[in-house]
């Protein structure tokens, strides 16, 4: 193989002249992190809500929540992204649709990506939250109700604090997934990490260096996420309970 390794490529000025190729990578990394974190916040909030609703006695609410989960879980992420980016702006009321289309292209890509990733992941978070709630001993709910708590109070003070503790490990894996899934957003032109890697290949013909760098960057993000989540897990561990001291 006659491949010419050239790790120095990252320090060369980029083709557009205003940056180095390392700068491209860093901006891609920043975009990936910004996108994934904002989508994660959305996913956690919606996922917690929908997951709770799936467990409530009200059949209508539980049914709607189930429909939500099935909708977002059963359509491929890529298709969802195209719908959010290409189709939905056309379906919005004209004022809103036009406002979207006249906004900065990066803004359009970012918003579509964030909503898409956030909702897709929220369906998965909802399933974890539901599983957490359902794995609590049934008597816990009764104990809360028997003390005079209303159902919402029972969720708030009794069930959710334990359910969320139980689902920290599976949520960690969803949190990792959201960073990895964000690479899909390169398909609508968002210059996140994977897109910057490919762009770098186009300009420099150094695919190995480029994708090794991209790979390492994803690994680095995931190591940080895992360490943070493990710290969280230790921090919220319940004394005398599984995982606690």
């Amino acid at each position: 193989m006659n491949y010419q390794w050239n790790w120095g490529v990252f320090l060369q000025p980029s083709a557009t002249g205003d940056d180095t190729y390392l700068g491209w990578m860093i901006s891609g990394l920043q975009m990936t992190i910004a996108l994934s974190l904002s989508a994660w916040v959305l996913a956690l909030m919606l996922g917690a809500l929908v997951g709770v609703l799936r467990t409530v006695p009200n059949k209508l609410l539980a049914g709607l929540a189930t429909a939500y989960v099935e909708l977002f879980r059963n359509i491929p992420l890529l298709v969802q992204l195209f719908i959010w980016y290409f189709v939905l702006p056309e379906l919005l009321p004209p004022d809103l649709g036009n406002a979207f289309k006249q906004s900065h292209p990066v803004m359009q890509q970012f918003l579509s990506s964030m909503v898409c990733l956030g909702l897709f992941t929220s369906a998965r978070v909802a399933e974890q939250v539901r599983a957490g709630i359902n794995s609590l001993p049934r008597g816990q709910k009764n104990a809360g109700l028997a003390l005079g708590f209303t159902l919402p109070q029972t969720y708030r003070f009794v069930m959710l604090p334990m359910a969320f503790r139980l689902v920290v490990p599976p949520l960690t894996s969803e949190f990792l997934n959201i960073f990895k899934n964000s690479a899909v957003c390169s398909t609508i032109g968002l210059l996140e990490l994977a897109a910057q890697g490919r762009q770098l290949v186009d300009y420099t013909a150094q695919p190995y260096e480029s994708f090794i760098a991209v790979t390492l960057a994803y690994v680095m993000i995931n190591v940080v996420v895992m360490l943070l989540m493990r710290r969280l897990e230790t921090k919220v561990a319940v004394p005398g309970y599984i995982g606690g001291k």
């Binding site: 008597g139 604090p161 319940v238």
Partner: protein, 242 residues
């Protein structure tokens, strides 16, 4: 205090409770016993509305439990309940377990709730464990805390759902002692239990259930001396054999 009239409950075709009726007056201690699956736990869970029932009526302190307009939370706050598996809240310290419902439901001040909680912990002999978590206590200790937690709400009556069934034999007595003391102080109590010793020493009446029906509802002396139904005779013969 508690009036249960013709209460029936079924899951599909399966009748869990059939036409159950009884009354519990203020200060009375009622022991509910019977074989597993006889509906005794379901019956006392109907009393504070944790289990819905299809027909009949339950009135607690003048409030109808089955009535859709009844504020069940408000009613439950006045009816203490102790569960087979303790059901302390594992993520809260013992103190927090005792305080939370007082502050959130009864809107007591934190200080007042703490004061009350500590007095009750003293009473069940667990003051020293206040800062611990439920998972760090033995079963008997957890159940005593659970009783204290229920008492912290100043209940008008107490429901016990097999409070000693999940305990190691050596811990049964510490829990029964607390219950006995409570009974002697005049608390209105409905206890589902197999502890016949407890029934003999403190119960006013014994209710015997079988297959969802109240088969016997008699004074303790009459029940133990001379159970009327064959089913109760068999049950007593087995349970008192050892």
């Amino acid at each position: 205090m508690i009036k249960i009239a013709n209460v029936s409950k079924q899951y599909g075709d399966f009748k869990v409770l059939t036409e159950c009726s009884t009354t519990v007056s203020k200060g009375e201690v009622i022991v509910v016993c019977g074989p597993s699956g006889s509906g005794k736990s379901t019956l006392i869970k109907c009393v504070n509305g944790l289990e819905p029932f299809q027909s009949g009526e339950i009135v607690v302190n003048g409030i109808s439990v089955g009535d859709r307009k009844t504020n069940l939370s408000k009613l439950r706050a006045q009816v203490g309940m102790v569960f087979q598996n303790f059901e302390l809240f594992p993520h809260m310290s013992i103190t927090e377990n005792l305080v939370i419902a007082q502050t959130k439901v009864l809107k007591r001040s934190k200080d007042e709730a703490m004061d009350k909680g500590m007095k009750l912990l003293d009473r069940v002999g667990l003051r020293a464990q206040a800062a611990k978590y439920p998972g760090q206590l033995s079963g008997g200790q957890q159940q005593r805390v659970a009783i204290a937690r229920a008492l912290a709400m100043d209940p008008i009556c107490m429901l016990f759902d097999e409070p000693t069934s999940a305990l190691d034999p050596e811990m049964v007595n510490e829990v029964l002692d607390v219950m006995t003391e409570l009974a002697r102080e005049g608390m209105t109590m409905m206890c589902v239990t197999h502890e016949m010793g407890f029934a003999k020493s403190v119960a006013n009446r014994v209710i015997f259930m079988d297959q969802g029906r109240i088969v016997e509802d008699d004074s303790k002396d009459a029940f133990f001396a001379n159970p009327r139904s064959e089913r109760a005779q068999q049950f007593l013969a087995k349970i008192l054999q050892h």
